[in-house]
């Protein structure tokens, strides 16, 4: 009987304790951290959202089984990713480690308090980093002499064209040079009886006019800034060549829509609808998406290495990386987690699940990345990859796809409004320098 009363009391005590604990949890009180082997990890979503979530959960389970460290995974939708990272870089809610981007800008915004955290002292965890990864991708994880993480996804941008429309026009293979690009675009452009264009021959990129300009400038031999990120270098012949080329595409050859810089312009939609023949620089996710989600497009498209300009054949490339956030107490656990994810077999799985190019050479040499023609072209394009990140924290403001951004305004004034090139370039150089001085001046 006594035992029974005692048991009842103990049960009642447990219930009360549980109720208090639950109430505290609901009210947001957290007790002392009992288990330090628990980390919070955010990643943006890629490819098939459910498949991506499942892949990441498989990784977290495997990692916990191997190390005992529990990874609390949170998926961040791309539509809100920029604002969440901007908030995190200013002291808002942040995880311990994450899939990140725009290292240079967010590092500058967060300074030594918030945002991306250097993990230079852990760099030896990856002793063969230079041999294992493409050089351009490593530029995206280093800033001001510090090492911030491991690149895991690449966005290398080849040319894409409609093979069915090209065949109708008597064209074969992708254009190899700017001259051929013009020739192809002319052949692919169609007009109705009134002279209205029913199919444009060429788009520079899918939606971001500033990013679309960047590879053309490189192909003309230009660099946007000095290596220390302090001096703008756009008042040069390469800018004149690139802007003149685009201006001619619009007004002389009439193969590029004069609306290509406006908000509603959608090259991707036009391409799918057969109202556009070619996109000079197409983001990495588009080819796998076409292959997976548009079976009706089978055999109607192909990729090519971007056409060579007067000075080169550079392809726009960017990367995302796994890094650690300032303020975490779990740096070592995060490094272990990143190290786990960066194993070749896991990088392979990440690449396959996301559809993203891998910055790891071994993955790109795998069967998966050579089993179709378009994947082989992506591999070829990697040889011309030019990182889009620049050594100035204001770079992303400079190439913002909105009116008011230096590059956007320069292209708009030179191409759409056809203002005097020298004046536009000189004023843009001045504006760009003023913007870059924001980050370094006293």
């Amino acid at each position: 009987m006594l035992t029974s009363v005692s048991g009842t009391r103990r049960l009642s005590g447990l219930r009360t304790g549980a109720a208090v604990a639950m109430s505290l949890a609901v009210l947001g009180f957290s007790g002392p951290q009992v288990n330090a082997q628990e980390i919070e990890f955010w990643s943006q979503d890629y490819g098939d959202l459910i498949a991506w979530q499942r892949t990441m959960e498989e990784f977290t389970d495997e990692f916990e089984a191997e190390t005992g460290i529990k990874v609390n995974y949170e998926q961040v939708n791309w539509s809100v990713a920029f604002n969440r990272w901007l908030t995190a870089a200013q002291g808002g809610a942040a995880p311990d480690c994450a899939d990140m981007f725009w290292l240079h800008s967010f590092s500058a915004i967060g300074g030594d308090q918030y945002g991306p955290m250097p993990i230079t002292e852990y760099r030896d965890t990856w002793p063969t980093l230079e041999e294992d990864f493409y050089e351009g991708s490593l530029q995206d994880v280093n800033w001001s002499g510090d090492f911030y993480g491991i690149p895991w996804r690449g966005d290398v941008r080849p040319l894409i064209y409609r093979t069915d429309l090209a065949a109708e026009a008597g064209l074969e293979g992708p254009p190899e040079t700017w001259d051929e690009l013009v020739e192809y675009a002319k052949a692919l452009t169609e007009r109705d009886a009134n002279g209205n264009v029913t199919r444009w021959g060429l788009a520079l990129g899918p939606d971001n006019p500033s990013q679309s300009y960047v590879p053309l400038y490189w192909q003309a031999g230009g660099d946007f800034m000095t290596e220390d990120g302090r001096t703008a270098t756009i008042d040069n012949e390469a800018t004149r060549v690139a802007l003149s080329f685009i201006r001619d595409l619009v007004w002389e050859h009439e193969v590029l829509s004069p609306d290509f810089m406006e908000r509603g312009y959608s090259a991707e939609g036009d391409f799918l609808a057969g109202q556009l023949g070619m996109i000079a620089s197409t983001p990495g996710p588009i080819p796998p998406q076409l292959a997976e989600d548009y079976p009706e497009m089978d055999g109607k498209w192909a990729l090519g290495v971007p056409a060579a300009g007067p000075e080169g054949r550079d392809a726009y490339a960017g990367s995302g990386y796994f890094g650690v956030l300032r303020g975490t107490d779990n740096v070592e656990a995060c490094v272990d987690w990143i190290s786990f994810l960066s194993r070749p077999e896991n990088m392979q799985r990440l690449s396959e699940a996301s559809g993203n190019v891998s910055p790891m050479r071994e993955v790109m040499a795998s069967d998966y990345w050579s089993d179709t023609e378009w994947k082989e072209v992506i591999n070829d394009t990697l040889e011309y990859a030019h990182t889009s990140q620049h050594p100035s924290p204001v770079w992303n403001a400079l190439v913002s796809p909105e009116p008011g951004a230096v590059i956007y305004d320069m292209v708009y004034r030179a191409v759409i409004q056809q203002e005097d090139l020298d004046t536009v370039i000189a004023e843009s150089q001045e504006r760009m320098q003023a913007e870059m001085d924001r980050a370094f001046s006293d």
């Binding site: 908000r263 109202q275 913002s400």
Partner: protein, 300 residues
């Protein structure tokens, strides 16, 4: 008893007050405070946020792009007020009249209200796309036009007006019209029927009824409506941002879009706050007149 009643009333409005303070007033005054600081995200860690007085206001007021956005804001808001009220008066009569199929017409008039502005903007952006617009196709099939109208990208101007500005304004009117119609209809239904009968006795026609009965008696409601449209119009953001992003060539750029771009594209929270501060100032001036008019009416 009276004290208890007061407490009860206080508790009833407390949640609304809390929401207004937390989600409205605190962000508003914080942002206003930022407009007097140097708050450049690229410099904030190194230089902090020093007080700069009115410097940010000077900077934005010397920016031709912002001045253009002020002009566009007033032109678009003015157009919305005039056209929406005029259409609202017509459609309120259509909704009030008795005829077969009135319910269907009422639903059709109210339909744009069911579409959130963000969705409406995306749909209209597609409908008005120069190369894909079904409106262009229909006009071309009917032989009315020979080349596509570039609704959102044509850069020809007539003074402050342009096709993109008129197109975006039209979408704003379309989306806000049901609210205006319902507002006016409610006012019209409160007008005593015998006043219209008196006009009939005097031999007046429809226009006389509208001019001498409807319009004078709707004046207080129209006053409120105009004030509300001015207040919401000055700070309008989403339809302009989604449809054109302020382009082409700033023809549809409004103050709120300018402010957003400064903060989230160019990392200048100080300039964005100064632009926001000017929106607040203009809106506050309108509110001041609105509240003063309301109080005067109550006194009468």
């Amino acid at each position: 008893m009276e004290r208890k009643r007061r407490w009860f009333c206080f508790f009833m409005v407390l949640p609304a007050i809390l929401f207004t303070v937390v989600l409205g007033l605190i962000p508003m005054f914080t942002s206003l405070g930022w407009s007097f600081l140097e708050y450049d995200l690229m410099r904030v860690q190194e230089h902090g946020t020093p007080f700069v007085g009115l410097e940010n206001y000077r900077t934005v007021l010397n920016d031709g792009r912002f001045l253009r956005s002020i002009s566009n804001t007033f032109v678009m808001t003015g157009l919305v007020v005039v056209v929406a009220i005029a259409l609202g008066l017509v459609l309120a009569h259509v909704m009030k009249a008795e005829y077969r199929g009135r319910a269907i017409v009422r639903v059709l008039i109210c339909a744009p209200w069911f579409v959130p502005p963000v969705v409406a903007a995306a749909i209209w952006a597609w409908l008005l796309n120069a190369d894909r617009s079904p409106i262009n196709s229909a006009l071309m099939d009917a032989g009315i036009i020979e080349s596509n109208i570039r609704f959102l990208t044509d850069s020809s101007t007539w003074g402050p007006f342009s096709i993109p500005l008129l197109s975006v304004t039209a979408v704003r009117i379309w989306n806000g019209l049901p609210f205006i119609v319902i507002f006016i209809l409610a006012g019209m239904q409160s007008i005593p029927r015998d006043l219209y009968e008196a006009v009939d006795v005097d031999g007046g026609n429809l226009w006389s009824k509208f001019r001498h009965v409807t319009l004078p008696l709707l004046r207080p409601i129209l006053g409120v409506l105009i004030m509300l449209l001015l207040i919401t119009g000055i700070g309008h953001f989403e339809i302009n941002y989604i449809m054109t992003g302020g382009g082409p060539q700033d023809m549809t750029n409004v103050m709120a879009v300018y402010s957003y771009l400064q903060a989230f594209n160019f990392f200048r929270f100080d300039l964005a706050s100064a632009a926001g501060g000017l929106i607040l100032l203009i809106t506050a001036a309108i509110c001041f007149f609105y509240i003063r008019t309301q109080l005067r009416n109550e006194d009468r």
